[in-house]
């Protein structure tokens, strides 16, 4: 048997050092991949049932517990659903400050992924700890930006992990001006680092790996969409978020406890690269100029350019947070009391990893009777499997087992999936037949 036709089994039985629990299975026979599965075996968390019977404001704090990295996204999608149902349109101050808070989440999440999770793959290290010996300044930059993002979240949410500041009709408390000013100064001081980060990521060595995929994101006529907008795709879809269920389907796969999503039967991409591919023309001019000068051109169909897209969005988050906080004024009231209304509410916002869609059916007392939550990682699962297959074939299935495993893991981490949380896997059970 020559090397090209060898049979290979790659098994990563436990994706360790991860938020979620998953595994990777790849079987190669006669020079072709005959089986590939990103197995997610973490037990279902059943949050959608937990929230039934609770008031809307309680649900906003409950769904924040779904994720320690993107709790703001869960809160924002939920509050948007309830406020839309109750006929409330957030005034400008509230829209702006929620966007500023969301920028904090993008900043901390993107800084974490770029520096501690993805960069080691591109620079040939097995962890950020190992990378820190040769790139201490880069790791420090990542940690400082992450801390700044966390502190921006805490400004509005009281704390950065599972914040508690968001409520129907506004915030429980508006920050005082003297609390805003120190954060604003730190954001202004961080702007050069955020700009430089775009060039730093663009200077990494990327595999030549153009692929065809469908990008899906929110789009808003007035801004680079984060917390509001219509759903659009690179294939021409444009629809109100309330029609999500008419176009997107979820189905169960035997190898995953997380539902797979498809758009008209096909996998699709959500997240930074999808957003930038669809909305790059809406970047503020200073952010656009830095992106245009970095040497990587968007829209891009090289999935490895996701790290550059994250850096561009991190720059955007710092730029936007500065703009919004420079105009900060303390409101007379941090929220407007709302009267609950019976019906179905829909929310969709751009979590760091992509669109996060919520639906709540609420009774006339404001009690949630039914909930449906579609997170970004669930939506990206099919795309990840498609990408691994393509990338390994592009790399060459005759490559060494270790090279195949590393490339597969790099592809998974590239999506920053919440379930396996894009970290480095410790164990590999690899068998040849």
């Amino acid at each position: 048997m020559n090397d090209q036709s060898r049979d290979i089994q790659i098994r990563v039985p436990v994706l360790t050092r991860v938020e979620g629990e998953g595994a990777l299975e790849i079987d190669v026979a006669d020079g072709a991949i005959e089986h590939l599965a990103l197995r997610i075996y973490e037990p279902p968390r059943l949050f959608e049932k937990f929230v039934e019977g609770y008031e809307c404001d309680q649900v906003i704090d409950m769904v924040a517990r779904i994720c320690g990295i993107c709790p703001v996204a869960y809160q924002m999608s939920a509050v948007q659903a309830f406020e839309g149902l109750f006929g409330f349109e957030a005034p400008d101050w509230l829209q702006d400050m929620r966007r500023a808070m969301y920028c904090g989440e993008w900043l901390q999440s993107h800084a974490l992924h770029i520096h501690l999770l993805a960069a080691p793959d591109f620079l040939g290290f097995d962890s950020a700890i190992a990378m820190a010996a040769d790139y201490p300044d880069a790791v420090r930059r990542g940690l400082e930006l992450q801390t700044l993002g966390n502190d921006l979240i805490a400004l509005f949410g009281g704390r950065s992990v599972h914040p508690v500041g968001v409520r129907v009709g506004g915030f429980y408390r508006a920050p005082r001006l003297d609390e805003v000013e120190p954060i604003l100064k730190r954001l202004q001081a961080a702007l050069p680092a955020a700009e430089a980060l775009v060039g730093w990521t663009a200077g990494l060595e990327f595999p030549d790996d153009e692929q065809s995929f469908i990008s899906v994101a929110l789009s808003h006529p007035d801004e680079y969409a984060i917390g509001r907008g219509n759903l659009i795709s690179g294939q021409g879809l444009e629809t109100d978020i309330s029609f999500y269920e008419s176009f997107f389907e979820e189905h169960q796969s035997p190898h995953s406890t997380a539902l797979h999503s498809t758009l008209e039967g096909r996998p699709y991409l959500v997240g930074p690269l999808a957003r930038l591919n669809l909305n790059f023309h809406q970047l503020p001019k200073p952010v656009r100029q830095v992106m245009d000068g970095c040497g990587i051109h968007f829209p891009s169909h090289n999935m490895f350019h996701s790290i550059v897209a994250r850096a561009v969005e991190l720059h955007l988050a710092v730029h936007e947070a500065i703009r919004l906080l420079e105009a900060y004024r303390e409101p007379e009231s941090s929220y407007i009391p709302l009267q609950p209304r019976e019906g179905n509410g829909f929310g969709c916002t751009e979590a760091p990893r992509g669109i996060l869609w919520h639906r709540y059916d609420v009774d006339d007392k404001g009690i949630v009777r039914y909930a449906r939550i579609v997170p970004p990682t669930s939506q990206n699962q099919g795309r990840i499997e498609e990408d691994i297959r393509h990338s390994l074939e592009r790399l060459g299935l005759e490559s060494a087992d270790e090279a195949l495993r590393l490339r597969a893991e790099q592809v998974i981490r590239n999506y920053d999936p919440c379930i396996s949380c894009a970290t480095h896997f410790l164990k590999l059970d690899l068998r040849r037949r």
Binding site: G68, I69, I129, R140, L143, V161, T423
Partner: protein, 145 residues
């Protein structure tokens, strides 16, 4: 400046360090900052800034003397899994990264609080043992007798 960090979460025995911080907040420890953190991951390093002495409290999987406290050697954390961490980045990894970056406080002391075998329920904290240990670790100029 001296800072005491309690790392944990609201769940079961993982909240022991938070209980310890609550208890310490009722003591007169002088110029000591007490902070509760919910699984900070790499964000732990941000709490090393501007600190001369850091005492870090965390629940440890020990089924002897549930609720008891032990002073740990940082080496004892090596290889510990980080099941309740963020992105697989737990206290041990954060300390290792801090060491690589040269940003660990001049005096760093780790205090483990024994979980016991039942992780779903926090055992009764050995408050007397905790008080004794913390007073020993704090310099007299900080901790008035």
């Amino acid at each position: 400046m001296t800072r005491i960090l309690g790392v944990g979460s609201p769940f079961g025995a993982d909240r022991l360090a938070w209980d310890a911080i609550d208890h310490l907040s009722g003591m007169d420890l002088g110029e000591v900052e007490l902070v509760k953190l919910d699984r900070p991951g790499s964000g732990l390093l941000a709490y090393f800034n501007g600190v001369e002495q850091l005492i870090l409290l965390d629940a440890v999987l020990l089924d002897t003397e549930p609720g008891g406290v032990s002073l740990l050697d940082p080496g004892q954390l090596d290889g510990l899994p980080s099941a309740t961490s963020s992105h697989g980045f737990g206290v041990a990894q954060a300390l290792e990264l801090g060491q690589r970056l040269g940003c660990l406080p001049g005096r760093l002391q780790l205090v483990g609080i024994h979980t016991g075998a039942d992780l779903s329920t926090p055992p009764n904290l050995d408050t007397a043992g905790l008080e004794r240990l913390i007073r020993c670790l704090l310099p007299e100029s900080v901790c008035r007798p």
